[in-house]
Symmetry: C2
Subunit: 136 residues, 2 copies
Amino acid sequence: MKAMKYSRQRESIKEFLEGRTDHPTADMIYMNIRKLYPNISLGTVYRNLSLLVSIGEISKIAGTDGAERFDPNTKPHYHFVCRECGCVQDISLEPVKALDGLAAEGFDGSIEGHTTLFYGTCSECKKKLLDKPIAL
Amino acid sequence: MKAMKYSRQRESIKEFLEGRTDHPTADMIYMNIRKLYPNISLGTVYRNLSLLVSIGEISKIAGTDGAERFDPNTKPHYHFVCRECGCVQDISLEPVKALDGLAAEGFDGSIEGHTTLFYGTCSECKKKLLDKPIAL
DNA sequence: ATAAAAACGATAATCACTATCGTTTTTATT
DNA sequence: AATAAAAACGATAGTGATTATCGTTTTTAT
């Protein structure tokens, strides 16, 4: 009933995301795709991003302040967000499924999973903070 | 330099939140406070909520879709969000601080903590889903 | 080659939230 | 109690991310 048709815009969005680990926002993706398709619309970027998410080809990272971020890696994994610069990075820790069981104890609903966002200071910002003189 | 002055609007917001475990949004709080102060402004609600958060009297729950939610419980704890109705509930599991150490392994930034949001179906919605006939 | 419908670009609308600003309250000091 | 500085207010405009609308263009099965 709703067969998906090919679109080069969607293809280029997927290609742009492929291999990336910086989890860009819709706007960052828009800015970059515009170099290839100068009159692509921001709405088209949003439409295709949610389309790609809905068919499971990319995933969306929620919980980060401001804009949503997109990830070509669809396997569940944890993320880290830097409190200094706001950058988002992958955490190479296998999701701790045991947490779901622990959380389910004494809980009357059913728990299907969890999302975890670690926060702190990324290595880049740690360096910068060391170089910076102490503020008075 | 910036002494905080009393305000009944702020007081009533704090009182409204006190004892609640449904984690209302700013708008839900606004709707309720209006019964007591019919011409309170939504801006006043937002201003006081962030003020109360900044002095540590209440806390803000991020990561839930749409609007931010507020919690009178300032001790760090996990939350659950229902995928059916969107309600947010407390999880009575002590934050697993060991996760931070695990995540830090092989990570070059520094991890200060994490937020975790469990998802699934709340008990209310489980009941409703059982009563509902299977869709064709 | 045709035509149905999916996707497009442009743009308006929505939603949650923040900022501005003139007026009202609070509160420390007379 | 009167005063006055500043914090807080209500009304409202503005912002930023996202979604909806709509007439036109592309895709694709026939």
